[in-house]
Subunit: 417 residues, 2 copies
């Protein structure tokens, strides 16, 4: 018998922070703080949802019309937003002005360092990718080695910018696994030295512009899917990023899991098959030895280096060997997902990177395995979905982090040294 | 090459909350809100750290002496604290008054429902267990079936209380696994109906006293170890509670992980051995089939029903079969811990319940297995420890949750219907 449940009161509200100290900070001025909070809420709304009329903003932010008017005027004066009459007024009377984020003027720099690819983009306020460039990652190059190339790509992306645009920050999202040429794997955290090296290469400090931060690629991607993708409105999200291996970006209770040193989410090295293959990390039977690209190619009997898409296509055409290989990998994928479901009781598991196509090709098979191995209580209401933002998820999520200072305090965003 | 890392800036500060809405609430009165926050910080300090002089409080809470004096007077007037001169003044001059929580007067009701035992306690402000009683859990009784017995035990515990004492709330912490008589296992969340039934049995509503909440046993235990035990000051904690199976209470970034429906932490049903034994949950090779009490007894070749302590003692005496059984179970325990370390990158893994003795008996063996299977980056700085609070951890953690309303707003604690 499974008992149907409601959430307990202490689970629906904010979880009590068990830390008793430090004492609350006393704001220097209550009115100033309230204005900052309201400006933040308004700009954040424009950033996430795009142009919105003053009337709608008044209802959504629960502030009266004159307050919204004053706040919007502040954002316009700071060149963060524009206001204009809607092009088609449906009702009689004076139409409500529409407030829009200035995506062309205010932007952030983002970059991703994946195992085989480098990407950079300029992302405008509002989350629009304004310019995107990529290059192959040189074999054997550590993430830090790629900084010169990233800086060059960024320079190209910014060549034709007008002088009145503003860079509000930067984030570099890095796959935290390093594959040595001898096959061994080292997993690290997001190395802050990459951000520092980008600052230096782009002379950010000299220009007094906000500097870079480094983050984990899967962490950036889960933020993006949470704010703009398939996981909007969900507080408990597991995002699986497939590259050569598998890592995860995890949100619980609406907050990103980072771990003590920013090194959480190494799901690819969860041991699920102790009698299985040796993993490059030194352990045996890691999840990614059964689910990674190499496992799929091996099961399909095709040479290493073949594009995994070729196997998926062969399976779709009815090739029995490819289909069996795909089913075997899908079964292992479902097993590991079940483990994560039992641990995190998420609303949704999102498949990204190389796992996106694998999930799409085997959704039924994967779901069946999850249902057989995860507890009914843990998978109640569970959704499995391919990521909505595709290969851009990490870039878009990196931009969310880069905009955070501006969105928190629109008129006085902290500029790091 | 493993790259040494600092935490990234976005990882040291609070994680940006990705939810753009709702808009911030505007406090009715800034001064009132500041007073509430300061009273909360002061009472929380007394609750966690015990009697403290005004001088120390002034430094710890970063408030001037006269503010501390006024706040302490408020707490004294509300019968939540006392003030008195220290018994031994070491320095000349007027000694600083010592502020103490009124543990005898202000208390909460807590209960735990474990697989074989029911416990109730009255816990005073300050976290002191004032009265504790227990009874065996009747075989086959669901958690909800045990409410009458819990209420009776609570009635006994409160029989001799003076009329001027105040119950500030109640929490029942429940092991979320139900073992059917046929061996099948159902895992649920913390059933709010248990709290409601306790409210009814103790006539809490009629007395306008704060009602019960239900929580998960391992979640309560990890809070206790975090606030008062081995995990003080650590923001990333995995607490493993061994009973018949294994569940976990997990804190990441200083916040409890609950999952969508309060059903996270089912680590015992993480599949680590797909070719292994059938688990009562329906899956095969769950972690607890290799690590639970039954696994230890089976490996040692002793009858089910034997106390596991007997095996640990035999191993300590040098019995080769018992030692081999213990090592086998310790190896599997370490393997699952390594998986959790790779997922959560915690500061510490705490062993509680039946795992406490198992860990103590095999700490070296377990550590070795963790080191061989967890990524170096994920286990850097990792501590493994037996819980400091022993079998009382869940009771003490339940009390923390029950006191939360009072500690958040000492003079106007919300009283649920």
């Amino acid at each position: 018998m499974t008992i149907p449940l409601r959430r307990g009161p202490h689970q629906t509200g904010p979880v009590p922070d068990p830390r008793p100290l430090p004492a609350p900070s006393i704001p220097a001025s209550g009115q100033e703080e309230i204005r900052r909070q309201n400006l933040s809420a308004l700009l954040r709304h424009l950033h996430v949802y795009g142009p919105t009329s003053r009337t709608e903003l008044s209802g959504l932010l629960n502030l009266n019309r004159s307050t919204i008017g004053a706040l919007a005027a502040d954002l316009v004066a700071a060149d963060l937003a524009t206001e204009e009459a809607p092009t088609t007024g449906r009702r009689a009377g004076r139409p409500s002005l529409v407030v829009s984020p200035r995506s062309e003027r205010v932007w952030v720099r983002v970059a991703t360092i994946e195992s085989e690819r480098l990407c950079v983009a300029r992302v405008g306020l509002g989350g629009l990718i304004m310019d995107q460039r990529e290059a192959p990652r040189p074999p054997g190059a550590t993430p830090l080695d790629t900084v010169t190339e990233l800086a060059a790509l960024m320079g190209q992306a910014e060549r034709d910018l007008g002088p009145d645009t503003v860079c509000a920050g930067g984030t570099v999202a890095v796959a935290t696994t390093i594959h040595e040429l001898d096959g061994t794997i080292h997993v690290t955290g997001a190395d802050e030295r990459i951000a520092a090296a980008l600052d230096a290469a782009l002379d950010v400090g000299a220009a007094k512009r906000p500097g870079f931060v480094t983050t984990d690629l899967a962490a950036a991607a889960v933020l993006a899917e949470h704010i703009r993708g398939v996981a909007v409105g969900m507080d408990d999200v597991v995002y699986l990023h497939g590259d050569r291996g598998i890592s995860a970006g995890i949100i619980t209770g609406g907050r990103l899991v980072t771990g003590r040193g920013g090194r959480s989410g190494q799901v690819g090295h969860m041991v699920v098959h102790p009698d299985g293959r040796q993993c490059g990390c030194g352990a045996r039977g890691c999840w990614e030895t059964e689910v990674g690209v190499a496992a799929l190619l091996r099961a399909a009997g095709v040479p290493a280096g073949t594009r995994p898409r070729a196997v998926l296509r062969a399976a779709a055409r009815g090739d029995a060997v490819a289909r069996a290989a795909l089913n075997a990998v899908a079964g292992w994928l479902g097993l590991g997902v079940a483990n994560l479901v039992n641990l995190f009781n998420p609303d949704i598991v999102v498949f990204g990177g190389t796992l996106r196509e694998l999930y799409t090709a085997s959704a039924t098979h994967i779901r069946r395995r999850v249902d057989s191995a995860a507890l009914p209580a843990s998978r109640e209401h569970l959704q499995l979905r391919a990521g909505a933002l595709g290969p851009d998820a990490a870039l878009i999520g990196a931009a969310e982090l880069a905009f955070e200072n501006l969105l928190t305090d629109p008129l006085n965003a902290r500029v790091p040294d």
